[in-house]
């Protein structure tokens, strides 16, 4: 069963625009919510992560918004650049078990 639902599957954004990717989950046992970025031919790499005790975390142009009551979290990429073109995965973890559960991925294309 899919423990995390990610949308959209693909996204095209113009350079300078805002990219938004959403994830929803059911199991409230998760306590760590990272986003991974994957470029073609490479493995995923940790981009940014949040814990459920905060509603927002910002690192440069990347922001995670977290809504605990709705069991949803999203990635916002401000001023999107062509170099941001990649596949993005949301993920969940119960840190007691150290296992990541991944979303289905969003392929982002930022047009010049």
């Amino acid at each position: 069963q899919q423990q995390v639902k990610q949308s959209p599957q693909s996204l095209i954004v113009q350079k300078g625009g805002i990219s938004i990717i959403n994830c929803a989950y059911e199991n409230t046992a998760f306590d760590y919510f990272p986003w991974y970025q994957q470029f073609p031919g490479k493995g995923p790499a940790l981009l940014i992560a949040i814990r459920p005790d905060v509603s927002e975390k910002k690192e440069g142009r990347f922001t995670i918004s977290f809504n605990k009551s709705a069991k949803q979290f999203s990635l916002h990429i401000m001023d999107s650049q062509p170099g941001d073109s990649a596949t993005y995965f949301c993920a969940l973890m119960n840190t007691g078990f150290q296992k990541l559960v991944f979303g289905t991925g969003t392929r982002l294309l930022v047009s010049p």
Partner: protein
Amino acid sequence: DVKVTQSSRYLVKRTGEKVFLECVQDMDHENMFWYRQDPGLGLRLIYFSYDVKMKEKGDIPEGYSVSREKKERFSLILESASTNQTSMYLCASTPSGTAGNYGYTFGSGTRLTVV
């Protein structure tokens, strides 16, 4: 620079063959993981290991086994390869108890085609 190295970038095997995928990390991490990545399905956990000689089933272990004889090496074994095991296989590692701080370090993947 820390690294997770997967021995093969591309692999083509025949149906019924026994296939070994090797993963080595140089970071002295306790935890190691094998995922497969398929379009539209994301990454799905096959097996993981918290320490040498230890292994745990993930979400899709059927048709696979693993071996961890040394801390730095985690091998994925396809006992009898089938075409539905054609996929990208990703190995990852993380220090014990810290995945929530540092995340996973992934290898670049092995693209396996079973014909």
